[in-house]
Symmetry: D2
């Protein structure tokens, strides 16, 4: 790879990406463009602008954007149509944010004539893979710079030294080591590393940042009603909401009731296992509600096919293949199924759990007439079941006859 | 089908199967053998003996058996190795009990020279399918009698009349209609029908029989430790327990904390959707714990393959194909994966939720050395990740180049 | 089911469906509408009109249609996009024709105010299932009459008697039993039954009707070039052809070279195994060619996902679920993959085989620069492969370390 | 990676691996152990011993072994139980040989106290991945040396120079560039590169080495009978044969009739597409025969599940994951299915094709009584089919009712 001339950096405004910014300038002597996105991580963005300016970035090279609606509408919601869970439990909060960031990095590179993008993910994690696969899929000629894999600033001490030697301001609270590492966006907050590295030990209380401890959550359950259209949540308690607003509200409500905590050991794409604490309050509510509305509007054949495809779909997103033909093929399959996934779900929130307690829809496939224990007025002829069973049993009976014959 | 001469009936001792017993005698003039199993449904079995005797069954034709250990060891535990959930949520408590009953019916038929078996499942449900597919798979020549599909006792009134006309004692509380229908065994209690038939309405409190209302559960969390060997739970808080005892204890503990309630609309194999309320306290704890021990002992490749197979496996059990070659093939795959799924999981129970908070094992694949944020002493070379990504990106880049070329 | 008043019958004009026609009139006293379709079975349709008139059908109730283009365009081609093979070998020639017939039956029923449809498939085969599932999926209230499951004309003798008693003309050559049964359409000819019922015996020569015996095929290979657009064949040797014309030509060429014979024992949906002789000359060429063009235009990720879905897709079509949400979901997935499956394939036909020997496309993903043994000018850095392997090996090494530790 | 001290080299005795041998000695100053295996590639092994001695390898460090029986018994046959085809067509002849070689390399390393293994695969291909993943899976501490990824001998000229400078004898016919590259073993011969790099051009005749041109094959078909036990071929025309002898004979017969040629563009695991010419005469016959015996002995449920798993299984072998838990899990599933896959298949070979024309077995599931067009003596009640269809149609009818309601 020839040296980059102009680099678009995914820039948070924090110490680490500020050091990267400086390092890119000095290591490659290249122009740096910063991209700071509001994905709902809950931090002010304007300080990032000031910091970038302070580090010598020209104003026209500072991109600060609120991408929350795009994030939820084009990434989170399509993923939730699939009921995606990685390894049965993880709602993919970090994974799903990376492709959007890469997409904007590559687009800004095209706008600004940059030939490279850079990110602050380490060489041991999944995020480097997600950032880079997305970038390459969108621009096959782009250069990708991953400073954590290149430089020798491999300890906190060395990093702070470098910052001080290079006039990167070091906030007091960043001098020591953080007891764990955090990633946050509108969908979730994840924590990992350091104090969490022994998977036998319960995560300490102070790790949780976004959800109330279920023991401290309200003693009275709260009921909410979520309206869906074509598989996406569109209203809360009767009020129409935009995608990002919807997720924001569900986060508030879910978080208040301690919903969405997960302590998980997962298999990383780069091969080792890691332990993470995830808080996904709104997403957890949304998943339950989406399964609830599907339960009455989705036919068994469609629902089971989706369920069988789901682990693969989740794995693709986890591994960073959002922009791949196979993810898009699966998305086409999933989206096709959602045409009638519309209606309303009633969810009960209480001390850590979100339970579906009611669901109704104009597009419901539930037929009380067919299922009832009462007279069904001829809707269903129980005698048909005898033939159904007999024919389904035939192959099993032929096996049993064969086995008898062989033993006999 | 020629008329049966001797029938083994799955007999609970309740009113409905007593009427069936009588009906078999009068309709077919055949000898009836009763089989009453203790699957952990929580009812005395000896009254069933008395009732059978009263209805004219000869003592040697009355089979009463405690099959709880066999049930958990040979059916429930193998299924839990797969983390089986039907339609993402249902733990298959009813489905998994049916094959065992059919197996014993067919075995008793062989022992007693009976040519038929009979059950009390209706023509609208899944249980008839499960009973009969299992029976045919185990004895291809067996006759199966399903009175609910044959007789004309299609209303409660007619049924009671028939009972009275035929000297079947009718307990007072069975004269009216039950507000819902119940099935129970050591794994779960399910309730459905009548008051539960409107899926928009929250299930009334009185439906729940086996779990405390989470709001009334203890205000203090309880921690338990479950030990696993080769995928099966073998000890609780350090005490070795037999399979059935293990599940019994987990039911007590889970039930006390309101764990394992589920309100679900599901797609029946016979085509319509139905709504059920399931209570699976011990099973819910067990599933969480099993996933917990797998999370550190099962490789990603093995775990993901299992996850992809799970919906199919669950569907097979739900649909009644326990005794089918494809279920056995999947079981071979699953069991192969469990060789090292041994260790201990710490679970926190609190007001309806069961959360894994710690897990450890001699067979753990978790390597703190590989995952640590600290120096890893060369365990992992971050530069390898660059090549890993580059090679994985190549096909995506070739697609992007093609797409550019076509557009250009 | 109440008695039908007006029935649309899938009518071939042959003896069997003529008897059905008569039987419907006399059994149900209902008006009969006949539908005779040209699916490329190679028979004149006008005789069917005369015969229907003779049997008392009013002219406005006689529907005769050439549906070959619709058949290939909307059924055969979408299926070939999936490279569908049932049980690894069968090209689904009969299965794919049934949904189209049912669709027209149901549409004609709507047009003519009929309340029922009828078909001539027997109760042992798959076709009854295919006809009826399609009919019910398109009109949930339609009545379906399957005379072969209802009447008592269970031997050839009884059938001929019935015909003679009811003024149905019996051609001389239909008095005896045919040595096997045939189904044909533009995609294939299938033969089964009677002389073919012993799967140990080679099928006699006279069974084959559409393909030359490879031993008698030309001694010189023939090369053809098939052009594809978005997964569908659109040109032959440079000449643009409509779907049905394309398949007709491929049948001629394939048949001449003895391509497309298959002797198969397959598992029927209704439970038993049956043996069929299939001749699918054009389809066999088309499948090879389609795989050929996919091999250079379809990414590995997309291609493998398709391959994994294929058996399920083929099973759905074989079992009669063309008009099901899950087939449509899979079709969406497959169609999504075909966007760039365009280009040309060169096929060599010789004495029973059709081999792809060349393929090229503007949308090709094949990159000589990347794959070459020669200098590749930096297109591919071999050192990346080391990292790729190291990272992929990590989880396997962690397993091996664990296993050593446990053994040690 | 610290420098290796003793290396076990996969040594063919050819020029390239001789150069590697020398390079290892001079580059690392390490002791070299050579391993030369007879996998049925059709070359004498003793010249490899002489050559190794000539290059200074001590006699006790020269391992020459005939592993043909192990190869077929433990690798080829288990794979054929799955009917494995990569991308629908490729019989995995190269892929399946690599794990065995790695296994012996690692075992010899343990025996000789070597700390590293080395192979002669290039950095662009799949074989490096297969060798190395297998090696790491079997010994997590082993060092792997892949000279082609390390050295700078990147042109033929440089390679020959190096040979001459280092006293590696260069046979006259190896001075120029081979027009294509070959790999061979008992299962197949593959050719790729150079003259084959344009996938639009038909492969020249001289590429084929192991199969007669179909046009020059005998004008008379040949019939053979292959006996199977538990999924493996055990006899040919009634003669019991060992695995390797069986494959050798099938190669002779298949090759004589021009069977098993394949011209394929495939997606490599390392990302690019490549074109290969494969000749797999015996394997092609074996696959057809195995499917033939499965067609009568394997139940539909088992067969379809296997078919759905096959692409994944083939991909794992192609990608080099033979020694992975997921391959072993799939193998357990496949092997479970083969218990009754025993019997005899009659295959007709003629000018490039191998067609199953008959099959019989004591374990057959084919029931003429059930499938016959004649009276079946009550084996099958056609009326059952009506119920079967009605129940299967119910969910489709409920969808249709819903859709009508929404439109109405």
């Amino acid at each position: 790879m020839s040296a980059p001339k102009k680099v678009v950096l995914a820039y948070s405004g924090g110490l680490d990406t500020s050091i990267i910014l400086k390092w890119l300038q000095s290591e490659y002597g290249c122009e740096v463009v910063t991209f700071t996105a509001d994905l709902g991580q809950g931090e002010e963005l304007e300080p990032a602008r000031k910091k970038a300016e302070l580090l010598g970035i020209r104003p026209e090279n500072i991109y600060i954007e609120d991408v929350r609606e795009e994030f939820v509408r084009d990434f989170v919601f399509p993923m939730f149509r699939a009921n995606a869970l990685y390894e049965g439990l993880y709602l993919l909060g970090t994974s799903i944010a990376r492709p959007l960031i890469s997409k904007r990095l590559v687009e800004i590179a095209a706008e600004t004539g940059a030939d490279a993008v850079a990110h602050g993910a380490t060489g041991k994690g999944n995020d480097q893979v997600r950032f880079e696969l997305s970038a390459y899929a969108l621009n096959p000629e782009i250069k990708v710079i991953a400073p954590w894999r290149e430089w020798d600033l491999t300890s906190r001490t060395r990093l702070i030294e470098y910052a001080e030697e290079n006039q990167v301001p070091v906030p007091k609270d960043k001098r020591g080591e953080a007891p764990f590492s955090v990633d946050a966006n509108l969908l979730h907050t994840s924590s990992e590393g350091k104090v969490l590295e022994d998977p036998a030990q319960e995560a300490p209380d102070y790790v949780y940042q976004r959800t109330v401890d279920p023991e401290k959550a309200p003693d009275t359950p709260e009921y909410i009603e979520i309206g869906f259209e074509k598989g996406d949540a569109v209203s809360l308690n009767g009020e129409a909401l935009s995608p990002a607003t919807m997720l924001t509200r569900l986060n508030e409500i879910g978080g208040k009731h301690g919903v969405g905590r997960l302590d998980l050991v997962e298999g990383r794409y780069v091969g080792m296992k890691s332990r993470g604490i995830y808080e996904t309050p709104g997403g957890t509510v949304l998943l339950a509600a989406h399964r609830g509305i599907e339960s009455i509007t989705l036919d068994r054949g469609a629902a089971h096919l989706k369920d069988e495809m789901m682990p693969r779909y989740a794995e693709l997103i986890y591994n960073g293949y959002w922009f791949s033909p196979e993810r898009e093929m699966l998305q086409a399959l999933i989206d096709k199924s959602q045409e009638h996934v519309s209606g309303t779900v009633r969810v009960k929130l209480y001390k850590g759990s979100a339970a579906v307690v009611g669901r109704w829809s104009e597009a419901s496939l539930y037929s009380e007439q067919h299922v009832t224990f009462e007279e069904d007025a001829g809707a269903y002829d129980q005698k048909d079941a005898a033939g159904f069973i007999k024919i389904n049993a035939l192959r099993l009976r032929l096996i049993a006859m064969r086995d008898r014959r062989l033993k006999g």
